[in-house]
Symmetry: C2
């Protein structure tokens, strides 16, 4: 890569390893919209990546648009903002796209989810808060009646109209520390009732007993946390895929409803945007699928070996060691 390089990603099977201040500067000049994965890029666990805050501040100063994208559905955007504040990262709620928010926005804006229908939630407060913010009614989730263990093998308690609300027209499944057989059984019933697969039937004021959408916030098999990896949202939704034989709509990276949600709010030109991520199978694949340039950092999950081997499946356009590397640019201008 010489001085004439224009800083644009090419989407090929090779990547450019950027190492000089000139290359960093050229990259920063080339993109107007910077989308960031968070864990492994901005922070690792509870520790900031050195230089990350400074790079974000420079991007803002230069008028770049910033978007934070996370598959974490256990938090709402408001809760996520508190994590940013705690770590000293400046952010606005409308810059944050969590899979909890994107799931609620997808229901509201893409599916036109009727106001007289409800969502059955397998998940935590994050999903419920985002559904509340969109004015979508919900059951399950953190409600005490579903956060208990079924006392006996008597299923009669799961069969009443009170237990299986006929106005449920979507099941949203995300990470749930309080996953229970009651929740799985109820979700299974909603998703397999007569006509459940006919999601075109879900309209405002339509009679009950119609279609039921099946939505996963994300399908990460595991997630990183102290002592992890631990089973993730994708693993917790696996029972419903196996029992119902239905194919869900998956919101989070690498799937595209997340990008559709971001674009519906931000309206930017994809060719002017770049995604910064640490995971090939979520972040980089997400950007490849969405036609957005991709910059990989080595402060998270994926390694350089994975993009150099013969059996590489997805490759970034650019590689840097750490987001902090870009911190030197201003001094060189």
């Amino acid at each position: 890569m010489g001085d004439c390089w224009d800083g644009k990603g090419r989407g090929g099977k090779t990547f450019e390893h950027l190492t000089t201040p000139h290359q960093y500067s050229s990259l920063l000049s080339s993109y107007d919209v910077w989308l960031f994965d968070c864990d492994g890029v901005l922070w690792s666990g509870d520790d900031l990546i050195p230089g990350a805050v400074s790079v974000l501040e420079k991007l803002r100063k230069w008028g770049k648009e910033i978007v934070f994208v996370t598959n974490n559905a256990s938090k709402s955007r408001g809760s996520y903002l508190k994590k940013f504040e705690k770590l000293g990262i400046k952010a606005e709620v409308d810059e944050i796209f969590s899979s909890s928010y994107a799931a609620a926005a997808y229901l509201k804006r893409v599916l036109n989810f009727p106001s007289d229908k409800k969502v059955y939630v397998i998940g935590m407060e994050g999903i419920e808060e985002e559904l509340d913010a969109e004015g979508i009614a919900h059951v399950g989730g953190t409600s005490p009646s579903d956060n208990v263990f079924l006392p006996t093998l008597d299923f009669s308690s799961l069969q009443s109209e009170e237990a299986l609300d006929p106005s449920v027209a979507a099941v949203v499944c995300g990470f749930d520390m309080h996953l229970s057989y009651i929740k799985l059984a109820k979700a299974h019933k909603h998703l397999t009732r007569p006509g459940a697969g006919d999601t075109d039937s879900i309209k405002e004021g339509s009679p009950s007993g119609g279609g039921c959408h099946f939505i996963l916030t994300n399908d990460d098999s595991t997630f990183p946390a102290k002592g992890g990896p631990w089973p993730g949202a994708g693993s917790l939704s696996a029972p419903l895929l196996f029992s119902t034989k239905r194919t869900p709509t998956i919101i989070g990276k690498p799937h595209q409803p997340m990008l559709d949600t971001i674009l519906a709010a931000k309206h930017f030109d994809r060719s002017k945007a770049i995604f910064v991520g640490d995971r090939l199978d979520t972040d980089i694949e997400f950007a490849v699928n969405g036609g957005i340039a991709r910059l990989m950092v080595l402060t998270g999950i994926s390694t350089r070996e994975e993009i150099e081997g013969e059996d590489k499946k997805v490759v970034p356009d650019f590689l840097i060691q750490s987001l902090g590397d870009l911190d030197v640019v201003e001094d060189e201008k």
Copy 2:
């Protein structure tokens, strides 16, 4: 089928629909060992199939060996016997092969599970009672510490040696009404610790940290019960398959460890045995895989249409409407 028919199954893609007393008599004469699925064959829910008790009594009178085979792992053989007694069906414990018993027997006799190792159980009393009967130590299952909801997203409580017993050398997963994230997380950790996949390393007196077997009692996606079908053992084990990427040994029908367990105890000639079942994808496939003749009844799940259509995958040798049909034979002799 004429009078010269010898009553032997042929394992082809067609079946004989038996309808006359002579055919019934010929079938009964041809097999010495009669293996029965229970639900859908002997009973449906809590109701006996008419004539079933009388047919079983005739088989005993004629000196036939009887074996009951069920994928239900929530009960031990002793508990199952009580169900037989309640319905007025004569049976002995050693005639009953549940997937809970077969899993314990498989660990003991096929895997030579060491006496200084433990099993981590996702499941109910049935599995624990059968492990106890084989002298195999176990943790998890119904123990109170794992039958709670993890209070917060702090996983430190799952990382101590007390939480993750290093002597665990197998995870057995069956139906569990009290499935919890704690159980999934612990099982995931046992199955993914360094060296967990090296199950050859599991020997009496070997140091901890070695291999860990992964065993499912059965992989039924759903099971029938009032108001069902409800998510079954196969659905509840789906998170671990997805999170660990490991391939488990599956004990129950249609898989063969169940038959190996029966043969190890009963030592019969497969060519003299016939399996009576109502489900093509478990019962009939089990018998096909095991080289045993198969008789299908229409008092359970599968229908005649499924064995007549172009896309039929597995076909019984013989079809009767109900086990009770065979009740007329003695009168005709």
